[in-house]
């Protein structure tokens, strides 16, 4: 048994997430906190982010430096290279960056140009996450993306030229997508030999344009069986290509190519959330604090300006909530999650009989004290977490 104070904290990763809330236009499936970029000036927001960073950092004195920084959104590739550089400098000043600190920028294919990529690299970015989404023009149109498959491929090439570490996103399990079509699409992406992939099934969120279409019946999501088949095909193809899954939807060539920042989430490490609607998790005195910025940029800015307190919304997670997060996030990674860390926050440890029955059914294995999902268990990850926690 380990004590709760040791079951959480920056030893499981210490990251910073910046949320840039603007996009050139809003995709119909997107349920992030995003706003159309238009011609706004972004200085006030950027200044607020810097102030937010300083305020939050002041509460975290004496910590080891950041192990990762992630520019997410929205479309952070719309930030100017100088803003990016300035923010990285601010992180260095406020919290310090570890020697191998991973600094990722999410980018849309449209924003990729050789000169810009070079600027980013100079600013300190050492990893790109590229939102290619599909290699099929019809699918790209359906997804409301403003780039073509050819532009996507070109962007991958450019990024690969400048960056050693990068990732490509694709969205699959689209309505009517066949196994054969997905096989072809994924195979052509794999032939580019990317070091890292994020492959997501299309998720239809209620408040999005797709969600409404689904409700009206004009968009018919792929059924569970077909989705499961596609998922299994994805695992096979990536494994054959030498990029096995290390998380439910993430695939990497080697351990070094895995996303350190995202692993911090799945391992329930600590991270700061900077920007409108950004979430953070910070362990302070054995308690896990959940922080959240105001969602609307203007409100966020005002809140930072008037702040008497570094976190706009903060909630101390209860022991059971902490356990639930450690488990649900932790089960997603292939190497699993230490059972002791979960049990440290539960009034009664996870039920033995339930564990055993999940093991005999072949969904779960216990490896050196870590709860690991089997390949078939991975498809039922959410349900299994629920079973373990009830």
């Amino acid at each position: 048994m380990i004590n709760p104070g040791r079951a959480i904290g920056p030893q499981y990763g210490f990251g910073l997430y910046l949320h840039w809330p603007y996009c050139q236009h809003i995709c119909p499936y997107c349920d992030f906190n995003v706003y159309a970029a238009k011609d706004r000036t972004t200085e006030p927001l950027f200044d607020a982010m810097l102030a937010d960073l300083a305020a939050q950092a002041s509460q975290l004195k004496g910590r080891a430096p950041l192990s990762s920084v992630y520019f997410g959104g929205g479309t952070p590739s719309l930030m100017s290279p100088s803003q990016i550089a300035q923010f990285i400098d601010a992180c260095t000043a406020a919290l310090g960056l570890s020697e191998r600190c991973e600094i990722t920028l999410e980018a849309n294919p449209n924003d990729i140009r050789l000169d810009r990529a070079k600027n980013w690299k100079e600013a300190g970015i050492n990893r790109i996450s590229l939102g290619v989404q599909s290699l099929d023009d019809r699918a790209l149109a359906f997804l409301g993306r403003d780039h073509t498959a050819a532009q996507g491929l070109q962007a991958v090439e450019t990024v690969a030229h400048i960056f050693e570490r990068y990732s490509v996103d694709l969205i699959y399990a689209r309505p009517d997508q066949s196994l054969a079509a997905w096989r072809e699409e994924l195979t052509s992406l794999l032939s580019l030999k990317p070091p890292h992939l994020s492959l997501y099934e299309l998720t239809i969120a209620p408040k999005t344009a797709f969600g409404k279409a689904a409700q009206r019946g004009t968009l018919i999501p792929l059924d569970e069986e077909a989705q499961a088949d596609l998922y299994e095909l994805t695992e096979d193809l990536t494994a054959q290509a030498g990029l096995p899954a290390y998380e439910i939807s993430n695939y990497a060539r080697s351990k070094a190519d895995q996303s350190r920042h995202n692993l911090t989430y799945w391992r329930s490490g600590d991270w700061l959330g900077i920007g409108p609607g950004a979430h953070g998790r910070l362990s302070l005195d054995g308690v896990r604090l959940s922080t959240e910025g105001r969602a609307r940029p203007q409100e966020y800015i005002t809140a930072v300006q008037n702040a008497s307190h570094p976190w706009q919304t903060e909630t101390a997670l209860t022991a059971e909530e902490t356990a639930a997060e450690i488990l649900t996030m932790g089960l997603r990674v292939k190497t699993g999650i230490e059972q002791d860390r979960v049990n440290a926050f539960l009034p009664r440890p996870i039920d033995k009989a339930r564990l055993e029955s999940l093991q005999t059914e072949g969904w779960l294995s216990l490896q050196e004290g870590r709860l690991c999902l089997t390949p078939s268990g991975r498809l039922l990850a959410d349900r299994i977490a629920l079973e373990l926690l009830r």
């Binding site: 996030m329 991975r378 039922l380």
Partner: protein, 620 residues
């Protein structure tokens, strides 16, 4: 009857109530009709005409004062109102009007109103004609030897066909319709004619003896949050007044009268109520159950010789289990049912424990509408989430050792080898329908094991009588009848006794475990199709789980139908990063709460809603 108005003083009533109406100037009458033919609206007009309420106080169907009555536009509880009417002969009469419900479930309300009156207004919608409850109610009135004034209402409607309907009244009921009054309760046409007919054609109460020992009929009782228990009475002999010590002859309990009064329709105190008069008394009675409807009230000091003939006991005919959605609401449910019973003595229950649904109650109702209304009142007035199991009827069992058992709940069915005979309740149904729907209606009755006993035509309308097992009617017979006939058919029934039938207990097994709440008695011939339907239904209702689940219907050990719910293949969030952690946790909390609303059967979680939905099936 819930009069939530506080008591008004006499002077506020807007008119003077004659305290000492000579008995020959009293008219007690009921308004009876098929559902929706306009009884309550006619009552509105009569009250308005007699100045019982000002225009400002008036609302549509003012006597329907429960929310549920207002919303559904139906009368559930009978109401009494005293009116003063100065007739064309110059005499001011005291009229006691009783508005009755039209729906078959509440026919006991009609019967006790009739017992307290000498005459009836038979309202018939002139655009609809004679319907099933018109007949049922008018026959009750004839049995009570009432004088009856036919009233053809809704004559303002273009579809009104006065001659045809008058002819129906004569042919079907055998009542002289030449003196029928034509009204529109909507426009107010003919209201004075109705009032004149009441004083001219209906008799005054039989001569009572004001000096004889007190003899009062207990017509109804209800709980009022301001007044406590209010007892509706009709005086036969003697004088009822404040401060009297009274005795309920059946229960023997005694009370001191706090007030006597009448409804005008607002409650108004009066000094006394004499022979022939209808009114109410309030006597610090704690519990409505102490007031047995139909009982005789007398004076403790000087009791009358013997009680009046009582009313027919009301027996519940339909039963169902009521369970709280959330087990921790059990005590709340019990308390709420107790409060509701204060207003509705016909609602009864006993405790029940179900493996599927936990602790709850087996409740008896007068019919399906009654069941629906109680359920709705419980969830609305008391804010409870309920699960109701399938309605079932009362079976009579003769055991091989000769003992007799009443079975209220199919899951209590004893081992078949010990049962010599099972009898189920049968009804005689009277159905009216326009002839174009006759074929469909006949088929429905046939399909429900009906036996035709009569089929006659009145113009273009068919009237048929069928004997039917009540069990086949409680599910959805009425809904089906309405949809087959586009709403034009009407239906009434009465119980005609229990008959032996080839009935079997069908159990439903989910993942090889029997689910008690889903057990039912069915006719052997129909077991298979019923079982198949049940399994198909459950297959859709039970969410997929991590393993496959067989769903079976069985009689004893023999499986008669089977379906399989395939295993869930995928339940995982595709994208899960920092911001999703919170979302994920909230979802998990919701799922955990959802699990609480599920009942566990071995390894299977069944949502409680599935029980209800499975049982709300179209009877085969």
């Amino acid at each position: 009857m819930t009069h939530i108005l506080p008591l008004f003083q006499t002077s506020e009533a807007g008119y003077i109530l004659s305290m000492s109406t000579p008995i020959e100037h009293i008219r007690n009458f009921s308004i009876i009709a098929h559902i929706d033919h306009g009884k309550s609206t006619l009552a509105d007009r009569l009250i308005q005409h007699c100045g019982g309420l000002t225009d400002r106080e008036m609302s549509d169907q003012v006597l329907d004062n429960m929310d549920i009555e207002k919303e559904r536009g139906i009368t559930i509880k009978a109401q009494t109102v005293r009116l003063a009417y100065t007739a064309k002969d110059g005499i001011t009469y005291t009229l006691n009007l009783m508005d009755t419900p039209g729906h078959v479930d509440f026919s006991y309300e009609v019967s006790r109103c009739l017992a307290a009156c000498e005459g009836s207004l038979l309202v018939v919608d002139a655009s609809q004609g004679v319907e099933a409850q018109t007949l049922a109610n008018v026959y009750q009135a004839i049995d009570q030897e009432h004088e009856i004034v036919p009233v053809l209402n809704k004559v303002d409607l273009p579809a009104a066909d006065i001659d045809r309907v008058a002819e129906q009244i004569e042919e079907v009921i055998g009542l002289d319709a030449s003196g029928a009054v034509l009204t529109s309760a909507k426009t107010g046409l003919g209201i004075e004619d109705v009032l004149e007919a009441i004083v001219k054609q209906l008799p005054p109460p039989a001569e009572g003896d004001a000096s004889a020992p007190l003899k009062v009929s207990l017509v109804d009782a209800y709980y009022d949050p301001y007044l406590g228990v209010v007892v509706i009475v009709r005086v036969v002999d003697g004088i009822l007044k404040k401060k009297q010590k009274i005795r309920m002859m059946k229960t023997g309990s005694t009370y001191d009268i706090d007030h006597v009064g009448v409804f005008g329709p607002k409650p108004v105190h009066v000094e006394t109520l004499g022979p022939g008069e209808v009114g109410f008394l309030v006597a610090s009675i704690k519990d409505v159950a102490d007031c047995s409807v139909g009982d005789t009230i007398t004076e403790e000091r000087r009791p009358c010789a013997g009680p009046l003939p009582g009313y027919k006991d009301v027996q519940p005919v339909v039963f169902c289990g009521l369970f709280p959605m959330d087990a921790s609401d059990f005590d709340d449910l019990r308390a709420s049912m107790g409060k509701l019973k204060l207003n509705d003595a016909s609602f009864s229950w006993e405790m029940e424990t179900s493996a599927a649904l936990g602790m709850g109650f087996r409740c008896g109702f007068l019919g399906l509408l009654h069941l629906e209304i109680i359920q709705e009142r419980l969830s609305r007035e008391f804010d409870l989430d309920l699960i109701a199991t399938a309605p079932s009827v009362v079976y009579e069992l003769t055991m091989t050792d000769g003992t007799e058992i009443e079975l209220h709940n199919p899951s209590d069915m004893p081992d078949v080898v010990k049962v010599a005979e099972i009898r189920e309740p049968w009804i005689e149904a009277t159905i009216f329908t326009p002839d174009e729907y006759l074929g469909g209606v006949l088929k429905l009755c046939q399909d429900r094991r009906g036996i035709q006993t009569e089929l006659t035509y009145v113009g273009k309308r068919a009237m048929m009588k069928y004997e039917l097992p009540l069990n086949e009617v409680v599910f959805d017979f009425y809904d089906r009848l309405k949809s087959i006939s586009k709403g034009y058919a009407s239906f009434d029934y009465e119980l005609v006794g229990h008959r032996p039938e080839n009935l079997v207990k069908m159990s439903i097994l989910v993942n090889d475990e029997p689910v008690d709440a889903l057990a039912m008695l069915v006719h052997r011939d129909r077991a298979e199709s019923r079982g198949r339907q049940m399994c198909e239904r459950l297959k859709d209702l039970i969410p997929r789980q991590m393993f496959k689940i067989p769903v079976q219907a069985a009689i004893g050990a023999k499986v008669i139908a089977r379906e399989t719910i395939s295993a869930m293949r995928k339940d995982v969030t595709a994208k899960c990063y920092g911001g999703d952690a919170t979302r994920k946790r909230k979802l998990l909390d919701k799922q955990k709460a959802g699990k609480k609303r599920m009942r566990q059967f071995g390894k299977v979680d069944i949502p409680q809603e599935a029980f209800v939905a499975a049982l709300r099936m179209d009877g085969v």
